[in-house]
């Protein structure tokens, strides 16, 4: 099919964002506390 690559781009981007944003917020919180 070849379409699977589009699915994986979406899943990887979304999960990478969620994990990255969580870590960023925790880092900012740690710095501000």
């Amino acid at each position: 099919m070849g379409n699977e690559v589009f699915v994986w781009v979406v899943y990887l981007t979304t999960y990478a964002f969620i994990v990255g944003y969580t870590l960023y917020l925790l880092w900012r919180l740690g710095r501000s506390s």
Binding site: V7, I18, Y21
Partner: protein, 228 residues
């Protein structure tokens, strides 16, 4: 003195843990769901694309409600929460656009087309980019909060237009899968559950992010006030 505010509060911790757990369950069911008759496994994009879109709308509506509360009560905490929610909403909208583009390329043949839904989404994103430019540009905290609140409320007005665009101007983008306008479901239960679980996961994570971002903003404002 500092210990009570250091680190994550228990509710935010719980929301984060629950959000990640739901995300894992959502992934499992998304991968287990049957392929679409026409699109095959490409339909898996829907489970994240729609979840990001809905939670993005929710974040912008919450930003608008806090903006209105700020204008009524003049409490800076509402302004901070409004900005926090708008920022998360903007990120979710960008994720939704990435998901949409990756879905559009194999189905429509292009990543982007200026049809009504995509155009109204572009307007929505432009409004919230403008929101943050205004926040950067105005130094006086009270003026900044008032101007930002006006944009946040304007942004909420645009959301029904974005949502309804697929009904008002029929074009290439499909109408809603969970059709709240005509009260119809356009998918079988084995595809609906992964969508609902992902929607719940995104909503819980949104709440966790909002709490943490609101807290960071409050701590920073406190520090700024102390530094004078």
């Amino acid at each position: 003195m500092r210990s009570h505010r250091a680190g994550l509060d228990p509710l935010s911790k719980g929301l984060l843990a629950l959000g990640y757990l739901l995300l894992l369950i959502g992934f499992y069911y998304a991968m287990k769901a049957p392929p679409d008759v026409q699109q095959g496994y490409l339909v898996r994009i829907l489970y994240l694309h729609v979840a990001a879109a809905w939670t993005g709308y929710l974040a912008f509506i919450v930003a608008g409600v806090y903006a209105l509360l700020y204008l009524i009560r003049q409490n800076p905490a509402y302004d901070r929460l409004s900005a926090a929610s708008a920022e998360i909403g903007l990120w979710l909208s960008l994720l939704m656009v990435i998901g949409g583009m990756m879905w559009a390329r194999p189905t429509w043949g292009v990543y982007w087309v200026w049809e009504p839904r995509l155009t109204s989404v572009a307007v929505m994103i432009a409004i919230y980019v403008g929101y943050f430019l205004i926040r950067q540009a105005i130094e006086d905290p009270e003026m900044r909060a008032k101007a930002a609140a006006a944009v946040a409320i304007l942004g909420v007005v645009n959301i029904p237009i974005t949502y309804m665009s697929v009904y008002w101007w029929r074009s290439i983008h499909q109408t809603a899968t969970i059709d709240v306008v005509n009260r119809r479901l356009h998918m079988p239960p084995e595809m609906l559950y992964p969508l609902l679980i992902n929607l719940l996961a995104f909503s819980v994570l949104y709440l966790a992010f909002l709490r943490i971002k609101g807290r960071i903003a409050a701590l920073e404002a406190e520090r700024e006030a102390l530094d004078g």
